[in-house]
């Protein structure tokens, strides 16, 4: 046995990311690791790759206990991780990327020729469609993934970890990755294969381990489980619904999206959920509706009338708001006070004779603070100083003041603690009741089931199913991971 993990634990600021991680890899096998977002898969493999240190449990490598403090320790034992392509330096060549941080030198100079030669040999050995001298920025996503595989192969020969290698690849490109994975297995390497796409497991997996909430809940040869069983293990028992939303009879149609990849309608008083795996195109759908990446064909209708949305301005003017998944990056001006953030999308409404009217603006900000119960010392407190939940409320307040009627929530509870989540849900419910239409993208299935009136499922950039609110996590996961 190559790797044997027993009862691995890992905590981040007191919160358990892994409680009991059990996992083994033999030489010459592909062992696939699956679980929902946040189940602890990445944490587990990062411990194996020396990027994190475990807080408890035993890690045996070839039968003896090891503790890797940095990736170099793992490399020294022949273990390496294939990262997402984003870790490559785009302006450098394939060879330069593969040797980045471990360049070969002759005296004070780089030994370019030897690095290129070794890189070319590696590429040839595995028959990759690459050249050592190509610039990485000119490569396709699949080729970049191959460069990452080369990097990993160059530093390790015993165990390779693939973390969602196909998430940005087309079907044909994915098939190429499967071929490479199988060929590495044929050379006697151990392979850990993480994926969200259950349907691709049959191309590569020999064994499967399923994590849920930081614990290993199942492992077996892959041939002994069905997709339904895998989904069941990933989701676990039925989660009792703590927050039960009383649905309203849907009112007037506020938004209709008629795009090739997605057709959907939002009515006043509705909260419609959007489920899907990472990279399924949920965020992209919101960005298209909001005009960040305008649709090239198809049409968007607001209250039955077609609107041309070419920019966020157009969307805002049409009464559409986007509460983004990354508040810090796209939602708030963190160095500015919450007063300024709240009125930012509608400064005209607090202007008198072209100038911002201080007292009017203060009143708006104070009213918003009170109505949404934003916990801040004053409206002059800087947005960057507030907690995630309160920051989220500022973003919502901004759009309420703009009087948006269609609100697109992209992962509204990300980075928010449990108490504040309930408040955000209550607020969303109140908004629906006041006649607004809400679209809610979330990776947290229990939350979707609690809050949404119906749930749309996306997979590979398309809407593949519309499910009623009585649906189950299993059913959603089935459509999200397998499609039909």
């Amino acid at each position: 046995m190559l790797l044997d993990l027993q009862g691995i634990e890992k905590y981040f600021t007191g919160v358990a990311a892994l409680r009991r991680g059990d996992f083994q890899v033999e030489a010459g096998e592909v062992h696939s690791l699956v679980g929902e977002n946040g189940a602890g898969k990445s944490t587990l493999v990062k411990i194996v790759a020396g990027m994190l240190e475990r807080d408890g449990g035993v890690m045996l490598w070839r039968g003896s206990e090891v503790n890797f403090q940095r990736p170099a320790d793992a490399h020294a034992n022949g273990i390496s991780m294939v990262h997402q392509e984003s870790l490559l330096a785009p302006r450098l060549t394939v060879a330069e990327n593969i040797f980045l941080g471990r360049e070969l030198e002759t005296g004070p100079l780089l030994d370019q020729r030897r690095m290129e030669r070794e890189c070319a040999a590696l590429i040839e050995e595995h028959n990759f469609p690459l050249r050592a001298g190509w610039r990485v920025e000119a490569l396709s996503p699949a080729q970049k993934q191959l460069v990452e595989i080369c990097r990993a192969l160059h530093s390790a020969s015993s165990l390779l970890i693939f973390d969602e290698p196909t998430s940005s690849l087309s079907e044909a490109e994915s098939a190429e990755v499967f071929r490479i994975v199988r060929s590495l297995r044929g050379r006697g390497m151990g392979i850990i294969y993480i994926t969200h796409r259950l349907d691709e497991l049959r191309h590569v997996a020999d064994r499967i381990t399923i994590l849920r909430d930081g614990e290993t809940v199942h492992y077996s040869p892959f041939s002994e489980v069905t997709t339904e069983q895998i989904v069941h293990h990933m989701v676990g028992r039925e989660v009792s619904t703590i927050y039960e939303r009383e649905p309203l009879p849907p009112g007037e149609e506020l938004l209709r999206v008629d795009l090739e990849e997605a057709r959907l309608t939002l009515h006043a008083g509705e909260i419609v959920g959007v489920a899907g795996l990472m990279g399924a195109g949920r965020t992209e759908l919101c960005q298209t509706i909001f005009g960040i990446t305008p649709a090239t064909e198809g049409a968007i209708y607001v209250r039955g009338r077609q609107v041309e949305i070419r920019s966020p301005q157009d969307a805002v003017n049409a009464g559409i708001a986007l509460i983004t998944e990354d508040r810090q990056k796209t939602g708030l001006a963190l160095p500015l006070p919450l007063r300024v953030n709240i009125t930012l999308a509608n400064v005209d409404a607090v202007c008198r004779a072209g100038l911002v009217n201080g007292s009017r603006e203060e009143k708006v900000a104070e009213d918003s603070q009170q109505r949404l119960q934003i916990r801040a010392a004053s409206i002059e407190q800087l947005a960057g100083r507030l907690s995630g939940g309160n920051q989220q409320k500022i973003v919502i307040a901004k759009w309420l003041f703009r009087d948006a009627r269609v609100l697109l929530f992209d992962e509204p509870t990300r980075g928010i603690d449990v108490g504040a989540k309930a408040e955000v849900f209550a607020l969303m419910d109140e908004l629906a009741r006041s006649g607004k239409a809400l679209l809610m993208v979330s990776s947290e299935l229990p939350e979707l089931l609690q809050v949404a009136d119906r749930i749309l499922v996306m997979r590979d950039g398309r809407l593949v199913a519309e499910l009623p609110r009585q649906t189950t996590q299993q059913e959603i996961m089935h459509y999200a991971a397998v499609g039909k």
Binding site: P312, A315, V316, N317, A333, L334, L336, V340, L344, L355
Partner: protein, 313 residues
């Protein structure tokens, strides 16, 4: 308590200016005289007015390296218009419009080509300087109407006329930056451009406006410069951009955007003016003067950074 010491630190540039003023009054009998003080005002007015525009640009997260070149262009063309039948008023209008034109060009290039402002304005710096020399043949414009001298050297009831111009510009800049929609968006752009886009703000339009104002104020400054020299100098304003940026930065402006104020910039410009004037009065070697001003820039920013670090914890 924390807040109070924070306020104190924020007012540091202001107290530095006062301290410098008091020190120079004691150190030199010639400092606190009407003649000397009005000469300080006249000397710093040009940099001061340009710095007002630069404050807006820097708060928006940008930079404008072309202001000195715009000053030369506007000064040359304004004075040429003046001696070729435009009269004093006509010449001044031409000078200001030239500045506005270059500012609009900067903004349009930055937003349409999506090139960083540093590069665009480095380019327009070269273009404006070159074109100025071509138009003027490298020769200064002379024979300006005598009344034109009033702008730079005249006084009203003992108050230098340029001080009034400066105060008027500062008042307009203050209201624009601190209470107009344009000003609000300028801070938002510099604080988080992405968030501004996602808030539906027409970012390109306001970016152009900011550079246009900066260019226009360089046009205003060019007329004061020309009036003080009573010539249109095609080589005027060499390296002014650096002094202007320094004034903004000493006054608390941050080159990463979102920070800066009109009052801070005025203080920054006057600190630089007093350092130059004081060094002259105290007979300090002019070579050393340059070094002192350089050190003050670093010191001012270092203190400001220390303050921010302390209060962001």
């Amino acid at each position: 308590m924390k807040l109070r010491s924070g306020m104190l630190q924020k007012l540091l540039p202001f107290f530095s200016l006062i301290a410098l003023f008091v020190f120079l009054s004691l150190a030199s009998p010639y400092f606190f005289t009407a003649i000397n003080l009005s000469s300080v005002v006249r000397q710093t007015a040009v940099i001061n007015i340009m710095a007002l525009g630069m404050t807006m640009v820097i708060v928006s997260g940008g930079i404008d390296l072309s202001v000195g070149a715009i000053l030369a262009f506007s000064g040359t063309l304004g004075t040429m218009a003046m001696v070729n039948g435009g009269g004093v008023a006509g010449g001044i209008v031409v000078g200001i419009l030239c500045g506005l034109g270059w500012g609009l060009a900067n903004g349009a290039l930055i937003t349409s080509l999506k090139i960083p402002p540093f590069i665009v304005t480095l380019g327009t710096l070269g273009i404006a300087r070159g074109v100025t020399l071509i138009i003027s043949n490298g020769l200064p414009v002379v024979g300006l109407p005598r009344e034109f001298a009033l702008l730079g050297e005249g006084s009203i009831a003992g108050v230098p006329f340029v001080l009034l111009v400066l105060l008027a510009c500062a008042a307009v800049a203050y209201v624009t930056l601190h209470s107009s929609k344009l000003g609000r968006y300028t801070y938002a752009l510099g604080s988080n451009k992405e968030a501004a886009i996602y808030a539906g703000i027409p970012v390109a339009k306001y970016t152009v406006a900011v550079y246009a104002i900066c260019g226009m104020l360089s046009g205003v400054a060019s007329m004061i410069e020309a009036s003080r020299l009573m010539t249109g100098q095609p080589t005027a304003g060499q390296a002014y951009e650096l002094q202007v940026i320094a004034a903004v930065v000493i006054g608390g402006g941050s080159l990463s955007g979102g920070e800066g104020s009109v009052v801070g910039t005025l203080i920054g410009a006057f600190i630089m003016g007093l350092l130059a004037n004081g060094s002259d009065l105290l007979g300090i070697n002019p070579y050393l003067q340059q070094a002192i001003i350089g050190a003050v820039i670093i010191l001012a920013v270092a203190l400001d950074e220390a303050r921010k670090r302390r209060f962001s914890a």
